[in-house]
Amino acid sequence: MVDQLARLHDKVEVFWFSEQPYGHITDETIEPYASGRMGFPNTHFDPEKAHVLYNQYHEQYALADEMGFDGIMSNEHHSSYWCMKPSVNLDAAVISKVTKRAKIAMLGNVIAINDPVKMAEEIAMLDCYSGGRIISGFVRGTAVESLLGGIDPTENRERFEEAHDLIIKCWTTPGPFRFEGKYFQHRVVNPWVLPMQKPRPDIWFPGTGSPESVVWAAKHQHPYMNLGALVDVTKWLKQIYIDTAEETGFTPGPGHFGYLLRALVADTDEKAIELGRNFMWTEDHRQKGPREHMDPPGYQSREAVRVKATQPGIGIGGLRTKKTYEELRELDNIIVGSPDTVIRKLSEIIDGLSPGYIHIYGNEGPMPPEDVMRSIQLLGQEVNPALHEIKLKPWVG
C-alpha cells in the first residue's frame, strides 16, 4: 500500500490520459448548432460506434500499464461528445481491472452535483478493487455540469466544499455519525466499505487557470493539477501555491503539483506533427454556446474569468484566447515528435516547473487507434524512462 500523503517526490510520475472522445463528430456535423454541449442533439450519438471506441480506450489503459506508466488519469463530463465519460467512477472500475500497477487518478468526481456519501462509498470500493491505487480528485466541474445536474451554479462552490468535508469524514471518522450541513443532511452515516489507503486516498484538485482554485487546493494541502495552461501562467500559479502553503504552514514541493499537456510520440517528427493535428479536432465547437453556459453569474469570480481569458485552454470556446496548432506547438502547449524530440521538450518543462506529475493528454478525436497505441508504447519504453532520470528540484529552500 502506498501512502500517498507522504509526498516524497524526487522524480516525476507520468500519467496517461484520454478524454475518450466520440471522434465521429466533424466540424460539419456540429457547425449548425449554437452550442457544442447542452444544445448539440444526442441524436448524433451511435451506441454501436461508442462500443467500439470504449474498447479501444480500454486497450490503451492496459497498454499504458504494461509499458510502465506511473498512473492513469481519468475524468468526467456530461453532455460532451469530446468526452464520453459521464461517470469517472465507472471508468476507474474498468482501469482497476485492466491494469495491475498504475495509480488511478480520478480528476475527478463532480461532488457538488452528487450524493457525497455515495461518492465516498464508490471511491472506497474502487480503492479496495485496485489494492489502494486510487487518487481521488474532486472537481467543481465546468458550469455546464452544474446546469445539467439541475444545480444552481451559485451554489456550486459551497456544495463542493460541504461534499468534500463529508466525504473525508466518511473515510476518517468511524461510523455511525450524524451530518447536518446546509446542502447535505444525513442523520445516520455509516458506510460499510472504506478505502484501503490510510488515512485516506490522496485528494487532488484541478484547475485551468483560476488563481482561486490554486489557493483553495493549497489551503487544504491538496496537490493542484493544472490542466493545460501555458507554462508561464502555470509558473505563476505554482508561486501562488507556494505562497499560500507558507501562509497555511506547510512546505510545498513537487508532490503538490501536476501539469497536463497534450503530447504524441511517433517514430518520426514528421509523422507525429501530422498526427498531432488531430489535437485541434472540432476545437472551435466543443465549448461554444452563450456565455451563460460556461460562465453563469455566481459560478466563478470575475478575476478567474480575466485570467482564463488570457489562456488557450483545451477545446475551450469563446471565453478563451484562440491559437493555431503551430502556435500551440511553439508554446509547448502541444508537444509532438519522435521520442528524442519529446524527451527534450518535456525535460525542459520538467526542469522549469519541477512538477511531481505530468499528465499526457495523448489521444484526440479521430486519431487512428494504432497510432495512439504506438505513441503509448514509445512514451512508455523511451520517453518516460528518460523523464524518470530527471532529479526534481525542491521548491523551497
Binding site: G150, T154, E292, P297, G298
Partner: protein, 259 residues
Amino acid sequence: MTTAQNVTEEFVDVGGMRTQMLKGGSGAPLLVLHNEDGNPGWMPHHQALSERFTVYAPSHPGYNDTPQSWVNTINDMAQFYIGLMEELGLDQVSLLGHSMGGWIAAEIGAMCAHKVKGMVLVDALGVRPRDGQIAEVFMVSREQVQQISWHDISKMPEAGELSQEQQEMVWRNREMSSRLLWKPYMHNPNLPEYLKLVHVPSLVVWGRQDAVVPVECGEIYNQSLRGSSLSVIDNSGHFPHVEQPQEFLNVTLDFLSKL
C-alpha cells in the same frame, strides 16, 4: 440610481439590514417591488403613481445596494418585507410588483393579508402554467431573453454605457436571481393554494404576448385570488408598464383608487 425631483434615496434599517429605498409622492402607501433585473431607479410609472400615492421603491436584499444577508428564497423575501412594513409603520399598504416582484407581492399577501390593502401583480412569476412553461432565462444568452421579453423590442429602453461598477452590480443582481429562482423554477407549487386561503383585493395585469411567463399564469392567479380581476394588455410582452404605459397606468390607477 436614477432619481427625480421630490424623490429621496433613503436607507432603512430592517432587522439590521441596511435597505436602500427610493421614496416619492404623497398619499396612501404603495410599495413597488422590482423584478429580477434589480431596482431600475425612478421610472415614469413611479412618477405617475407618486402623484396619487406615497411610493416606496426599495432594492430587495441582494440587489443594488441592499445586502443579501439571510435572504435566500422568495419566502425569506416576503418575510423581510413584512419586517420593512413594520419598520416604516405602514398599515393597509398597496403592493405593486412586476415579474419576480409580483411573486414577492403575492407571497406577502398570502402571509399577511391583514396588512395589505390590495395588490397589483404584473406579469408575475410564482405560479406554474398547466400547459405551457415559464421560459428558460438563465441558460440562454441575454440577447435571447430580450428577444422573448418584448412584443416590440424597439420599446426596450437603451441601457447606455455602463461603468465598471454598474456592470458588477448587474452581475451581482443576476447572481441573486439565480439563487432565488433556480428551483423550483420561478414558482412556488403551493402558492395558488395559499392564495385561496386569504382575501386580498387584487388586479392581475398581463401582457398578452408575454413569452417569458405565459398569460395562462395570469389566469391561474386570477382564479386563485378571491375577488380579483385580470387585465390583459394587447401588444405587450413581459413589460406592459413600459410597452403600453398609458393603458397600464389607466387600469392600475383605476384599481388602486377604488380600494
